[in-house]
Symmetry: C2
Subunit: 392 residues, 2 copies
């Protein structure tokens, strides 16, 4: 397998884009990624796009060929839509990277795009809940705040943590990620919040309150991947896709213990093995903090902290920029404050990690970062996908 470099990245501002079609949003990010790669659309041999709710948002299935055509890719380029709920874009990037590694293509563009129907919370929540299992879970009323509310109670009881202490740790995740987002010009929320604001927020799904939850977001992001042997001289420092992983889990009642996220452990193990690194080597991680408890679960399953101790690390600020620990988690602001356009999230995480490894992140830069992890979760841990990036 050949080495794969990230040649360029692009991303729209995250927030509300109710005047732009999915095609227009994606084109902004994709053309920026091509520009920053100093490539023309005609040079691109394939499109790999994550997209989740376009059929509901715009009545658009089969979106990939239209996205490819609009940015001017040659007809011979396969254009493929990947849907794995919130992990859609990471799954798309993983497949694009493997196609380049295998020699099927020399240059591909990968990314994601979503409009979150934020003007209609009921529609958005109902539609998003379709990523739960539709025979037994969603008809029983399970939505994602519900899934992660249950996970919070399970975590507290399983590890014998007082719920009030756990909620304090979760509040610190929210405070940290909002603090990070202040320095991210593309983030949806660039306002600091304090712990009291989180703990006094409206109840959403016990014990999750409003500021434990990520927002509805519109946006797009894209990355250009290329074979290192032919293209690495175009970029300095070069950032490589050093490892990828993807795994699955069944419905919640099959997984038995949501706090363990077994699919994530299987996925990141694949990626660590391929990259020849371990959790101790990771400097920066963009992970799936759709809810504050999700960040705690993730830093354990990714191997950064022992099971049952992630909450303490968050309480102590070990994963914050300037906290002195490694890895720094979600310097972009994460899903929580940068925003979470479902099908685009993995591409935005890859955008951030790439720029961190290139040292381009200004006041939110993780100094000297050489290894970065992308972690994205789709549904109630049903789809997990990971990427490991390394500065060359």
């Amino acid at each position: 397998m050949r080495e794969v470099v990230v040649l360029g990245v692009g991303m729209t501002p995250f927030g509300i884009h109710d005047q732009l079609a999915l095609r227009e949003l994606f084109a902004q990010a994709a053309l920026e990624a091509l520009d920053s790669s100093r490539l023309e659309p005609k040079d691109v041999e394939g499109l790999f796009v994550g997209q989740c709710f376009g059929p509901f948002q715009e009545g658009q299935s089969n979106i990939a060929p239209f996205l490819a055509s609009d940015i001017g890719l040659p007809v011979s380029a396969p254009a493929t839509r990947f849907e794995g709920a919130c992990a859609s874009a990471t799954v798309a990037i993983r497949h694009g990277a493997l196609m380049v590694a295998a020699g099927v293509h020399d240059v591909v563009i990968c990314g994601g795009v979503e409009r979150a129907m934020a003007t209609d919370t009921t529609l958005a929540t109902t539609t998003f809940a379709m990523a739960c299992q539709a025979d037994y879970e969603s008809p029983a009323g399970l939505t994602f705040p519900g899934v992660f509310g249950l996970a919070t109670h399970l975590y507290a009881s399983k590890y014998g943590v007082e719920l009030s202490q756990l909620k304090k740790a979760m509040a610190r995740v929210a405070v940290k990620n909002h603090r990070h987002a202040v320095d991210n010009p593309l983030a949806q929320f660039r306002k600091e919040i304090d712990e009291a604001k989180v703990l006094n927020g409206p109840m959403i799904a016990d014990p999750l309150q409003l500021f434990d939850c990520c927002p509805f977001t519109d946006g797009a992001a894209a990355v250009v991947l290329a074979s290192a042997d032919k293209f690495k001289d175009r970029i300095d420092p070069a950032v490589y896709i050093a490892g990828v992983g993807q795994a699955h889990a069944g419905a919640t009642y099959v997984q038995k213990d949501l706090t363990l996220a077994p699919a994530r452990r299987a996925s990141i193990a694949q990626a660590y093995a391929q990259a020849g690194v371990g959790p101790q080597d990771v400097d920066v991680c963009e992970l799936h903090d759709c809810f504050t408890i999700a960040e705690i679960i993730a830093i354990e399953a990714l191997g950064f902290f022992p099971d049952g101790e992630g909450w303490k690390a968050c309480l102590e600020g070990k994963t914050a920029l300037g906290g002195g620990g490694r890895p720094v988690v979600n310097p972009s602001g994460g899903l929580k404050a940068k925003g979470h356009p479902i099908g685009a999230t993995g591409a935005a995480q890859t955008y951030e990690v790439t720029n961190q490894l290139r040292g381009l992140c200004g006041s939110r830069q993780v100094q000297g970062a050489t290894v970065g992890v992308v972690d994205t979760l789709g549904g109630d841990f049903g789809t997990i996908c990971n990427l490991i990036l390394r500065r060359g």
Copy 2:
């Protein structure tokens, strides 16, 4: 890249399955494919599934992990949903085949599943139309009968064919494919029809009449792909995935001439080149006859007949079983009579071509077939995907 064999195939009867969930339908086909491969679910390293309208049919996004979990795949197996409208399963199989060829996996299961909402024609037609471009085409009222009605008029006028003659040729496509399906125990319609029945049917979208159109269908199909070096001794005769292709086109107004299907020409060229064969070598072809005119367009774009002459070949019965010509087209009955469960169609085509190359098709067997083509079209020619299979 390694050689890839089709180790086993499975398929449900096509028709109405309104008492089965997508998960249950897919499991039938997938477990049959595993049984016929003499493999256990634990041996499978990845699931690649085509699925189009599950979010509308059952409120189910993120379906791939649930399908994988239900048939017992290991958590470490990536489970990925591909959506390219009617070409979804072929796109899934192409990606699965490339992953095996690249050495990422040794054994994968690929396939597709769909329930077509046949009890509600308006809902089905509206939902299916989402595979047209949603900004300009579907809001203007374009549905797929409309797309192929337009293509019929264009074909007649461009090549100076009397519409009545063209319609007679189209009717013969319908008669042929219904005749073929009589011998296919899994086909939705196993009844012969005659030319008069087609030409006297209700008008659907001028000039397409009812029997020019494929039906709404529920069903699933699956194939197990494996690396030839490790697995080819398990099966005799072995059938190889010798070449794959995929290409894209923009909206109808971008393509300019639907009768040329430029994405299909790009896709099949990739597949022919990889397989080292040409159209003259093809013995059997399962192609995308969603409407009778679509078969005429396809046999030209795939290179079997010169542009503007496909209608004559159909009129003369050259592509029928027993017609003496090569390739035989749609011996399964095609989408027209076997049925067309959107996201499953490409897997059912691969099922048929595999069984033809193994000589297992009984009274509909294409004698001595050694090279077969799968051709699947998504949307208004937006996504095209091809596979070339060869008996070893």
